[in-house]
Symmetry: C2
Subunit: 254 residues, 2 copies
Amino acid sequence: MENSSVIDLLLKHKSIRKYTADPIPEPVLNKVLEAGTRAATTGNMQLYSVIVTKDPERKRALAPLHFNQPMITEAPAVLTFTADVNRFQQWCEQREAGRAYDNLLWYVCAAIDCMLMAQNTVVAAEAMGLGTCFLGTTLYTAKEQCAFFDLPAGVMPLTTLTLGYPAEQPEATDRLPLTGIVHSERYRAYTPDAIDGIYGPKEALPQTQRLLAENGLPNLAQIFTQRRYPLADNLKFSEHYLELLKTQGFLNGK
Amino acid sequence: MENSSVIDLLLKHKSIRKYTADPIPEPVLNKVLEAGTRAATTGNMQLYSVIVTKDPERKRALAPLHFNQPMITEAPAVLTFTADVNRFQQWCEQREAGRAYDNLLWYVCAAIDCMLMAQNTVVAAEAMGLGTCFLGTTLYTAKEQCAFFDLPAGVMPLTTLTLGYPAEQPEATDRLPLTGIVHSERYRAYTPDAIDGIYGPKEALPQTQRLLAENGLPNLAQIFTQRRYPLADNLKFSEHYLELLKTQGFLNGK
């Protein structure tokens, strides 16, 4: 009953940030995306669009919107995943059915659809020998992404995936113990001891110790709040994203 | 290079709404969830929690929050997926690192993390012979879900997955042509002809014709806007969800 090669593939996942120069054959990319679209979708509405960037000029122009992370120019293909109610609503209007989906509920539904599709795309890509890396920078520069890709109202950028044949084989990263994220019947409040138990193994890793030494900080949590994702940035990006939800038409009717 | 059994599994996906009475062995469920957590996650923060409902009493009590869809009581396991910054922030506070993630940006990051994990869970479940169905009702009753599962601030319900051994083998549902959802380099505006081309095959399906006859409506788009997901409901649920984002602490600092 068990298809162990699938489980093995999922358990072996690693983000790949270095790629060979080999282009991705069009039939391979199409098969990967087709497998992506087989993911479940709300009411079978497929409320997403994917923009493929392969042109070297466009990748160079896109790189600053991802804080010049080298994967953007080095990966043969960059996929930008968007929550998209525009196409569906245009169909509805063309059929005299009115507009119903330019609101927060459907931003969330579309985002869910889009991310299910994105993860299926990753699994399919890895099954075809490709490596992938998600870039969170898409949210920070969401407004600029809209301009760069000509995204109309009803479309919001969510995440970006670089795609190519791996030129590195990194170690798998750690994960929290399953008991730290799964709850039985009800969400159990985390006691201080439980938090220590869940995050202790991560804090004890050699790479964590290296990070602390490099950053001159006393613990890993402060690496996150002081260096990687500090509050002031988060509030600024949150404000921009909320503003964009308005201008892209997802906060109507409230 | 190609792992064709993985691609086949993805291409064959169908939502399963009828389950046998067989329970899911604990090691199987754990392996499925472990494979789920191997999905990529923002900064390896794993900003999600999954609540497993197996107790028959609790499933009966949960059913009304999913509009009494029978899968809730019939499936041996119901997984409720939540975007969760609470655990991470509790860790940060315990390490005197402050709070930084109770804002809109990190709701979206956590939702992305959560849905990538959810889709990996689906793929793993199907590889283990299980069937799954996502329920969108979680968003409609998000506030009630918070009360039902004791979700603290920093946690938002996103979606629900029923899980069990299949007692049906439905046909695969249709999907839009890939050219309808993939854009090259820039988002291309959809012309009226393009919309007709993308949605035409779906409109011509025999099951669409049956739906129109049953509902006395002239086209499929109106089935969506008049019957399935009408505007008045969408605005009401949007308002509730926005209110919940506030009360769960994701709209701070704006």
